[in-house]
Amino acid sequence: MKSFGVRINLLILMLVLSFIAIAPKFSVEGVEIRSLDVVSKSQGLNIGDVIKSVNNVNVETPENFIELLKDASSVDPVRINIITDKNNASYFAQDNLLFELENLTIKNSRISSINDGEILKEINNVKINNEDDWEKIRYELLLSKIVRIKTEKREYTFQANKELEINVKEVSRSNIRKGLDLEGGTRVLLKPVGEFKATDQDINNLIDIISDRLDIYGLADKRIRAAEVGEDKLILIEIAGISKEEVEGFIATQGKFEAKIGNETVFTGGKDVPFVCKDDGTCSGIRTCNLASEGQYGCRFEFSIKLSVDAAKRHADITKNLDVVLTSGLSKEGYLSKPLDLYLDDELIDSLQISSSLKGSETTDILISGSGFGDSEETALNDAVLNMEKLQTVLITGSLPFQLEIVKIDSISPIFGKEFLKNAVLAGAVAVVVVLLVVIIRYRNLKIIIPMMITLLSEIFIILGFAGLFRWNLDLAAIAGIIASVGTGVDDQIVIADEILRGKEQIFSWKEKLKRAFFIIMVAYAATLAAMLPLIWAVAGLLRGFAIATIVGVTIGVFITRPAFGAMLERLMNK
């Protein structure tokens, strides 16, 4: 086979490498998991898994998945009629009977007319005389569905008695990642405020803690980095598929947790608490829900934690000196004179009585509790779950060493993003067609026009190859950068073409002609590079995508595609 010469071969090589780097998938099936609820997580599903089918129906789009999942897992509430030795009640239950049973005695009742301590006699017309009767019926009371979720790796089959909440997105069709403004999500710039100026080390600590918090929250689709603006050290966070309110309420709160007895601190979040029970119903969960006052419901949550030895010692030292308040004259049981007060960001969230048996003891097991409120039981329950998760997260990660101020927040709707991407691609395509028309009018020679178009499209393709290789996030600014560098590309090709076409009578060799063209091209390249470089560091790197796209674009152009263009012309025109 005839060789094309070094310059053209290099171009072909780069095109092949770019194709590999972009790794386009021509047919994609299923949807990618973006976040999971507790139930599906405990079944082993992971963020990033690709779901192929639900109950043997193939998943095509995220919208289609939402419907399938709803059909597969939503269960209607069931009416429960219950009779105890003292009362009877009729209510609706969905995923939970709203009470627990121990020795046929009601525990943790959330039914308004049934109290703890009553003995269960009959439920849904079935008499309960002994434990066996209860065991026979308890799993048949509530409806549940078998859900089969098939991922790329394996099939998961499990029972669901409430609607699963699995958040998904389209599977990426290639290695090219879309930036926030094309995908939708929130970008925040946070500034630490404290008595001291944050050092680089502080910023790194902050980034670690925030990153942990996001992980615990199931938000894996995120990017965090340090950013500098002027004198200030800032943190830039980009999270796909999250709203402004969620970021404000959760990431940016300092989360300073303190457990105090009187004025003395017993323990704080983070290193004092080596273990926090989370997502495990046996040691963490919502325990009771009641009508707190007129139209106001309250739900209490509890979860257990383990204290470090140091914190347990502090607990012992402080409680040693407290008095015991007996609950009744007869028993020796009672409470200590001061409660354990739990503060989150200097706000009292709960106050716990300490059992007299713990006086002066180095206990490591502590039960943390708190509540949530709302105008219906459901909203109160959600509020309590949210507060519990927040508290657990804060206890696990510890507080942020600084308060954070949101200095910039953008929230982009995912619908916008889709429109923008379509539109930007259209604008780019139209620009290429217009360039084609201009060169057709100017040169009227296919031997120039075709190589020019090949070069132009190759440049775009190789820039995208780089984007795929380095997992850039292509945002609007980067697309502008690509269009800009393609613009200079066309300029340079016109210089080369004119230099070669000009004055056929002249005796310059091909080498000489190209050398002359490339002097102009190299100076122009250096000037563009000089203009773009400062932008890499300016404004917290928010325009870095644009600067890098332009620089990479013109560099590829100058060193790979335009020399190849010269070589193509040389071969075609010399015949």
């Binding site: 949101i406 709707s413 210089v495 004119d498 100076v523 250096a526 332009t550």
Partner: protein
Amino acid sequence: MNWESFLEKNYKKLFVVPIILLVFSLIVVGSFFYRTGELFERDVSLKGGVSATIYEKNIDAEKLEKFLEEKLNTDIFVRKLGDVASNKNIGVVVEIGDEASDELKNNIEEATGISLSRENFSIEVVSSSLGESFYQGLLKAVLISFALMAVVIFVAFRSFIPSAAVLLSAFLDIIFPLAIIELLGIKINAAGIAAFLLVIGYSVDTDILLTTKVLKRREGNLYSRIIDSAKTGLTMTFATLTALSVAYVVTTSFVLKQMFLIIVIALLVDIVSTYFMNSGILIWYCKKRGEHEKFWS
């Protein structure tokens, strides 16, 4: 008529056009600076404040502006967001100078009766201190860019007047679009400043081509070499100009639209600054050096 003899006779007259444009731009930008103490009007991203975009077709922009101004008691700026390709309204953008984002959202909901969610609402909140340091940072970036570009030009041509002519041309390419943007009452955003950096790159392309041909080539005479470089240079400029003009019309993104608009204006004025001004300076420079006789063929 012969372009070369036209140029030879008229290059001094042609010089008037860039001078008028330069004086005009300096007056516009200078008077703007005198009135406001600012080089240009900055948008939310460079000044601080809130910019909210509502993605709904049937919003009356003027009514919304009036409602919000009465309610929040500050200057509110509402503009329509249109899709030129389909000639349809896509939504509106609301801009406000201070950072009352929660209030703004509730008030928009009240005014329009549309509930705003992640699906139809985008918001950008920038603190004024950050906006200010972005602004300072970007201005610094423009100055450094210009300085680095100047170094490149001086190293490449190694003679003062031709190099200075390239820089003067680049300066006109920056200040003229800035003046036009100010007259159009457009607020410049961060991406807009990035566009000015691109202008530096684009602007010098044609000047480098011209200067190289005039100073480093020996074929033809001075005027024919200028005309020759103009043929190439104008093709370059027209290709980019038409491509970006069409892209400007097509795009719905405000970020891209502003970038394209600035570059299009700059490319238009670049024709004047390169071929009326820079070439004039080069002709004058060559004549003064008395070298031009040497080039007559």
